[in-house]
Symmetry: C2
Subunit: 108 residues, 2 copies
């Protein structure tokens, strides 16, 4: 599932009738956020002084295997919630605050 | 699944580490919002001049059966996204904007 990297879209939920396409797009992002461990990951990434983490640093604090961590990170990247950068062997992730700002706008 | 009717809780996602309980609570609300038809329902309810609808008025515009409509409304009620009031045979639903405000706060 690859969601478009829109950072603004859609009618705010309570100020007009959502189209089917808007509802489908928004629901897909909420589905990505509907796993507790993904929310913990977002929170952990944002809590770093550098605002980024290496994928290799998340497995131990969350008690997950590396493939599981990578799977969740990939889904959040594809939903536009994270950006990523490869450095050598590892991929580093940062939260994309614009996407969360878009969700806040939609929930108004 | 009956979620507590909290209207404020939890650490904002990007300003501290979520606890497991906070992440679980928040993820459960996002799961309720992860069905396009539920978002369309919220939008339809909020778009009414009276800001409420009878459960009987949603089946036709959404092309759903009455039991399906009632199922989705019940889940949104249990998640604290809607309030409801029985009048005679039918139940009327209103959006609870406080819950959406709480989600906006959490996504900051």
């Amino acid at each position: 599932m690859k969601l478009p990297k829109v950072t603004s879209c859609c009618t705010p939920l309570l100020s007009g009738r959502l189209t089917v396409d808007e509802a489908t797009h928004l629901a897909a992002i909420f589905r990505v956020l509907s796993e507790p461990v993904r929310l913990q990951m977002l929170s952990l990434i944002a809590a770093q002084p550098s605002r980024e983490v290496c994928a290799c640093e998340l497995a131990e604090p969350l008690g997950l295997s590396q493939p599981t961590v990578s799977h969740h990170l990939k889904l959040m990247y594809e939903a536009g919630l994270l950006k990523r950068e490869r450095r050598g062997t590892w991929i580093y992730y940062q939260v994309l605050p614009e996407k969360l700002a878009m969700l806040r706008e939609l929930l108004s």
